[in-house]
Every structure is written in structure tokens, then in C-alpha cells.
Symmetry: C2
Subunit: 337 residues, 2 copies
Amino acid sequence: MQQIPMPYLLFLGDVMDPLAAKTARGIHVWRPESCVGQIRLATDSVSLGLEELDIATAKARGAKTMVLGTANAGGKLPGHWIDSIKTAIRAGMNVANGLHQGLNDIPELVELAAEHNVQLFDVRHMRPELDVGSGKKRSGKRILTVGTDCSVGKMYTSLALESAMREIGMKADFRATGQTGVLVAGAGIAIDAVIADFISGAVESLSPANDDDHWDIIEGQGSLYHPSFAGVSMGLIHGAQAHLLVMCHELGRKHMRHLPHQFMPTLKQCVDTNLAAASLTNPDVQLAGFSLNTSGVDEAEAKAALAEISREFGVPATDPVRFGISELAQSIKDRGL
Amino acid sequence: MQQIPMPYLLFLGDVMDPLAAKTARGIHVWRPESCVGQIRLATDSVSLGLEELDIATAKARGAKTMVLGTANAGGKLPGHWIDSIKTAIRAGMNVANGLHQGLNDIPELVELAAEHNVQLFDVRHMRPELDVGSGKKRSGKRILTVGTDCSVGKMYTSLALESAMREIGMKADFRATGQTGVLVAGAGIAIDAVIADFISGAVESLSPANDDDHWDIIEGQGSLYHPSFAGVSMGLIHGAQAHLLVMCHELGRKHMRHLPHQFMPTLKQCVDTNLAAASLTNPDVQLAGFSLNTSGVDEAEAKAALAEISREFGVPATDPVRFGISELAQSIKDRGL
């Protein structure tokens, strides 16, 4: 699989909305050692608090790739960013881009990159030659984060688990399936951009055979209960052949994201349906635990809700932002799979 | 949705393998009134028994589109077919193609088609501007054919049902989701070629709101139990919002197609799983009946097996090739939905 060279210079442009910088923030939170600095086009645009560097200085400090780390409405590349991109290319830096519009669709950038022997990574379109999934068993252990809905913390949970499992001496690698995750990991496949026939095959290639004591932590997408994206979730579950599922949820969410007419499943329904689907390619799949976003309630209420869930299902339940995820990591280790 | 103009001239090339002509045969079986004739490049190539016409004669008899109705290994367009395609274009005929390789990727054909004001239809790549699915309820009635596996007769069953329902005075339209189906119907979306994010949205656009007494019969794909393609099947189920499912199966099949390691579900498992998935976007979904390929056993054994299934599930079970499908169509009418 293609690897985006690190470390990164994070390009924040002139974006004012903190939410629009969530990709850059994710990279900074999870791979601080891979961030040389930030570059902004306006003094009042979003900042990550990294050192402000111009492109020449960043290059001199070792930056190998400039990452366009912000989203904007419509996924278009603002025309006035092009100069910065050209400067980076001329300085010998690769450029990575999470926007819908591809750098590789802009001929002058493609030419310039070829001339300067650097690469343009459009992470929404990065994919190896794909094959359809086979469902054949492969070596190594796998965890998949699944969810009651979209945007319930599957990427955060996966990265937090990677970190916590490594801390207790386990071999663990995050496997990215969304554009932010791909930029954080420097590799992966934006699974929702794959041709439908190849969803499970893409996940098989993303998480190939490995050592018996090695864990891939595969970032889930969507939800089997989300009528827009369940096909992606299903293919992901089958391709993952997970030994363990971690169920992600936002406490108190009333309906499916963006769909006020669409009911939320109960945790029990969602766990049962995901285990049933996952058992098709790994009959021994089990539920490892729960990862909840409890930010809508106070700490006492959050603890009570997590304790109740943990009691009902007999597995750890945590809010990784509030309470960490080390107990869940330890319980995975203790299973001795 | 784009419509391929009918009637057709069926181009059979120099294909010797009858199986490779299954697209042309499907068109001829289901839309005989739309087939002006056939054209072959060799006297010993597959024949549908249609009148042999040269392109000029076919045009004079009203043919609007020449259809490349055969498959070949690798999905490539044989170079020596190009002359026939050019002749058709020059005669003012559109050309429709079910191969992987697109006519629209061949610049000289694109230019020639523009010059002669005709269209090139690559059905594997035909799709309207797609949106993600919404799961919002829409008017009209819908049947979806689902299956225990791939290649168990979902297209055949859908087309047979369309015909049988029309015969008893119901408003019914086949909605194609595979390339053969798209050529038969002259419209549709090859759903396995859609970007993963848009699977359910594609089905929503394929089967829009309609009269309350109108039935769309949506062609299913794959199986929720097939580890390669279940994502496509899942998105299709959610986009269809089916009122009724028809379960398709090949009697006696031992394992999933092309995957000897992959178990076949029981009919009961498969029905339950499909109804559960379909209930996400239509809580009132019901099983309408079974459509089996019983060609592996004799007629007495087939009848016994169908009777047993019908008794177990309380709905009609038939082999549409052997015994027709009118009883199932009538039972759908009698439900009075």
C-alpha cells in the first residue's frame, strides 16, 4: 500500500471554522511526532498551536509532505491555495489532500510535481489495485470499531485503542478507512469512495495476513442501521474478519445523523446485528466493549450510564475522551486470543 | 434516467460459447418485440435464431441501437469489432455495450458518434448524478428479489414476475440493477459499479415515487451471505424500501459461488436476515414467496421440495422456468397492499 511520507507540514489555509480543521487536528493529536509545523494564509485562521513555518523552513526541518488539513463546503480546492501548493512542490515536498477535488485533476500541478519528482496524494482517491473480497481466513488478529450511527467516535476509538494497546506491550496497528484516518496513518483506503463491488476486498487488502500476535485495529464507517451507508458498513464488517468488535455510540442521540425520520437502534439490537454480520467471515467474533461519547451529560451521569451498559453486556464500557480506554485495552489482552 | 432507444439490433460478434451470449439471449427472451434482428461475424458463432440482418437493413427496419450482447474473458472489446461499431454509427444507430471496456473511452468512436449525432451507452458506467440514500418513505409499491447467493435467478425471477403481474392487470415495472437487466429494460443502474457511498441512493433514484397501485420489481444482486458482495446487497435492500421480498435459491447448491470455504445459509436464516435488514427502511416488509432453480433434480423431486418450502413458510414457492410464476403473482395481487 502507498505510504504518504512523514513528517508533515500542516496547511490550514484561511479557514476560520474550527470544525473544518478536524483533519489537521486529528493528525496533530494522534501523530504529534509527525508534525513539523503549521502554515496559515491569514493571522485569524484556525491554529493548532504548532510553530508557524514558511515552506522553505519546514523543508529545511525535514517536512516531507504538506497536508491540506481542512475541509470546506463542497470539497473544492480554493483557487488561491494553488500558489502555496506550487511553492511546496518547487521546494521538493509532496502534497497530500483530503478534499473531494483531486490535485491529480489539475494538469499544471501534475506537471510541476513530475518535474520536481514529488507525489500528489489525493486520499479520497488513493487505492491499490482492488479485487473482490474472498472471505478466506488470514492470520493475525483484528478489531473492528462499529457504531450505532455515523460520527460516534469510531476513528477516535480506534486510534486511542492503538495507543493503549501499544502501551501495554501489544503489537497493534491502526488501519484507516476514512480520509482523516488515512492522513493520520499515512496509508489506508477511503472505503466510501471504492467501487461497490470491491468494499470487502478493499478491507482485506488493507489488513493483510500478519503475525499471530499482531492486532489490526480497523476503523469502522457508518452503521448497519444507517440507511444511507449500511452497505459500506456491511462490506467493511465482512472484509475485516474481526475477532473483536468495539461498539461506538453517542449517549442520548435521538435519531440517525441527518435523518430525523430514522430511529436509533438499541445497543442490544445493534450489538446482535453486528455480531451476526461479522460471524459470516469469523464465526468466533465477540464483543470487546463499548466506547461512548458522553459529552451531553455530566460526569456522574456518564459514569452511571457506562456502568449500566458494562453490567448489561459483561464487557468494559468507557468514554475514551473522558476516562481513557486502558481498561478496555487490558481486557483485550487478558482474553489471550 | 437515461433510456437506451429501442428496438435493438443484437450484435453477436464471433462468440462461440452460448453462455457468453447470455445478455443477448436475455434481451431476446424478455423483450422479443424490441429485437429487429441479429448480426454475426462468423457463420458458426452463437445464434439466437433471429433474422440475420446487415446494419443498413436493420436501420431501414427501424433499429435504433446496436447492442453488443456478448461477454468475453476480461471484458475487453475485440479490436476487430470496431469496424462493425463504426458502420452502425455511420448508419445513424446508437451503440450499447455491456463490456467492462467503455466505448466512451475510445476517442475515435466518441468523435464519430458526435459527428453522426448518436449515443454510445456503456451500461456498466451509466448512472445519473447520484446522491446518498435518505431512507425517506416514498409512494408506490416495491418488490425486491433477494437470494441465498449470486446467480440464483434474481433477474429472471424479476422479469418473470413483471410479465405475470402485468398479465393479471397489475401495473408493474422491472427495475434493472445489473448490466444485462439494464440492456433488457433499456434503463437502470449497474449497482455494483457505483461508488460505495451511493449504493442505497442509486436504488432510491432507480425506483422513485410512483402511483399507490404501481409496483416496481427491483432486481436484487449478490446475497447478504456472500462475503464478497453483501455490502452491495445491503445497500440495495435499504434503498429499495421493499414491501415484499422474493427469495431466490438454487436447490442443492453446496457453498457460495466461487467460494468453496463459504457455507450456504439455510432458507430460514436467509429469510430472517433479509427481512430484518429490509425492515430498517420499511418496517412492514413481508416475504412474498420463493423462486428456485430446481434444474439439478427431476420434476417430482422439484415439486416435493417446493411444496415442503411452501408449507414451512406459508407462501408460494415455484421454479419459474419449470412451473411459471403466475401463482406467486396472483398471491401478491390477493394481498391487496
